[in-house]
């Protein structure tokens, strides 16, 4: 059963309900599904948290994931791990679950829609200056755009825009193309190969979630740390 036809490029095109500008399509429905799984799962797992040396498997899994994400963040941003963690962690978990569920028949990853990836990229786009300004102050943050020379201002702006676009399109392109490849392979060789591709898809999904989260963190870290790294260490006065 294919919800998205082979000639349709995005789950946005599968519309369940439309009234005026309100459109409920497959992207939104599957997004809600993933949100529901994450929130309910979180509630269930954290209902009986153990602080002893023994714990439930689910708690263990979540602790591994949370510790892993925090470790990655700590490697890039030396301090303020818990400031960035909810944002980066949510992006990672959402993309990861969204990508991993593609092995379910009838499921279409919301991340294979450019609308979703654009929304994620826009969130990163706004998060970078918000974190940067909250960390350095607006003046220092804006000064970054004219370093090392005011001539570089347009390049900085173009860089911001292009990397946001790249974030959106990279995730969308990978997921969408994977789904198309699997659909085509199903038509050409219905046995064995689609399974291999599905397995590969899980790996791709994991890698893409990781890449998206790490890039978002790198952008945020660059906005909050460039100034500090650019300056010479202050001389100690006696």
């Amino acid at each position: 059963m294919e919800i998205v036809a082979i000639n349709q490029i995005s789950p946005d095109q599968v519309i369940f309900f439309a009234w005026k500008f309100v459109t409920i399509n497959a992207t939104l429905v599957y997004t809600w599904l993933i949100m529901g799984i994450l929130v309910v799962g979180s509630v269930l797992i954290t209902r009986n948290l153990s602080t002893e040396r023994t714990m439930s498997r689910w708690q263990n899994l979540m602790e591994v994931i949370v510790t892993g994400i925090r470790g990655e963040i700590r490697e890039m941003a030396k301090d303020g791990v818990d400031t960035y963690f909810p944002f980066i962690g949510t992006i990672f978990l959402f993309i990861l679950l969204s990508n991993l569920l593609t092995f379910l028949p009838g499921y279409v990853a919301p991340t294979s829609s450019l609308t979703t990836t654009s929304a994620l990229a826009i969130l990163v786009f706004f998060a970078v200056p918000i974190y940067g300004i909250s960390k350095q102050g607006i003046i220092e943050y804006l000064k970054e755009y004219i370093r090392p020379n005011p001539i570089f201002f347009p390049f900085h702006v173009m860089g911001e825009l292009s990397r946001t676009l790249a974030l959106a399109v990279r995730l969308f392109g990978n997921l969408m193309s994977h789904e198309k490849v699997v659909a085509i392979l199903l038509a050409v060789t219905p046995l064995f190969f689609p399974i291999v591709m599905q397995a590969l898809g899980l790996l791709i999904g994991l890698i893409q979630a990781y890449i998206f989260a790490v890039l978002a963190m790198v952008y945020i870290a660059s906005a909050t740390q460039t100034h500090e790294e650019g300056e010479h260490p202050p001389k100690t006065s006696s």
């Binding site: 995005s10 994450l38 979180s42 948290l49 602080t51 949370v66 925090r70 909810p86």
Partner: protein, 255 residues
């Protein structure tokens, strides 16, 4: 490429809601649980470290106590050894003293017995010798032994040199008496013979008192306040006693 702007903004809102919910239901709790566990583990480690330190201190104190006990034990043992040694010496000393005492007493008993024996011997021998001598003198020469003794005493008084005579005489001038003591009965003739000899050669007004005593061992003596003239079988018996004593001593040595 189509972007549905309603869906686009909905997704932004969805993701922000998701971020809020996950922060509320997942991150805070999980991080809290991890921190709590780490704190607990740190507490357990701290406790273990504390226990280790306590155990080390206990071990050190125990070792010190053990050493002290050993030293005390050694000193007590040494003291006991010394006490036992001194006690043994005391006991030995006491035993030695007791042995010496017993030995002395035994020696004294032996001596006393020997003396008793010799005294008895001397007494019996004296009696026998006296009886035999008397008999022999009577049988062979028809001489009475007692008369002969009295005669000898009288001769001694006669044959006294001047110095001796003066010494004998001095006490008598102050009112002293001459005491004649004999082991046998002095008949009036014998008394007269002695009185004559004394009055002629010592002093004319001499007072003579006669008495009889078994102690003299078959003899007779004249005494004047410390000075005396005597004849007794004692001198002969002394030789006999000496011979006996020597024989007894040699027998004892042989044993």
């Amino acid at each position: 490429m189509h972007i549905d702007w309603f869906v686009f903004f909905s997704q932004i809102v969805n993701l922000m809601i998701l971020m809020f919910l996950l922060k509320k239901f997942l991150y805070g709790k999980i991080v809290g649980a991890i921190d709590a566990r780490e704190a607990k583990i740190a507490a357990v480690f701290a406790e273990a470290e504390q226990s280790r330190l306590e155990a080390e201190s206990a071990a050190t104190s125990h070792a010190r106590n053990l050493r002290e006990l050993d030293e005390r034990h050694e000193s007590l043992l040494e003291k006991s050894r010394q006490d036992a040694e001194s006690y043994r010496e005391r006991l030995e000393e006491k035993a030695r003293e007791e042995t010496d005492f017993l030995k002395t007493r035994w020696i004294e008993a032996v001596k006393s017995e020997r003396e008793n024996f010799l005294r008895e011997l001397r007494h019996l021998a004296g009696k026998q010798t006296y009886a035999v001598t008397r008999r022999v003198l009577h049988d062979l020469a028809e001489v009475d032994l007692e008369d002969r003794i009295v005669e000898i005493l009288a001769e001694r008084v006669v044959s006294m040199d001047e110095g001796e005579r003066n010494r004998f005489r001095e006490p008598l001038e102050n009112g002293g008496v001459v005491t004649v003591t004999s082991a046998f009965d002095l008949t009036p003739e014998r008394r007269e013979r002695l009185n004559v000899a004394l009055r002629q050669h010592i002093a004319a007004d001499i007072e003579v008192v006669f008495s009889q005593s078994d102690d003299l061992l078959s003899g007779c003596e004249l005494r004047s306040d410390g000075h005396k003239i005597a004849w007794s079988i004692k001198d002969y018996l002394d030789t006999l006693e000496e011979s006996f004593y020597t024989a007894l001593y040699e027998k004892a040595q042989e044993r």
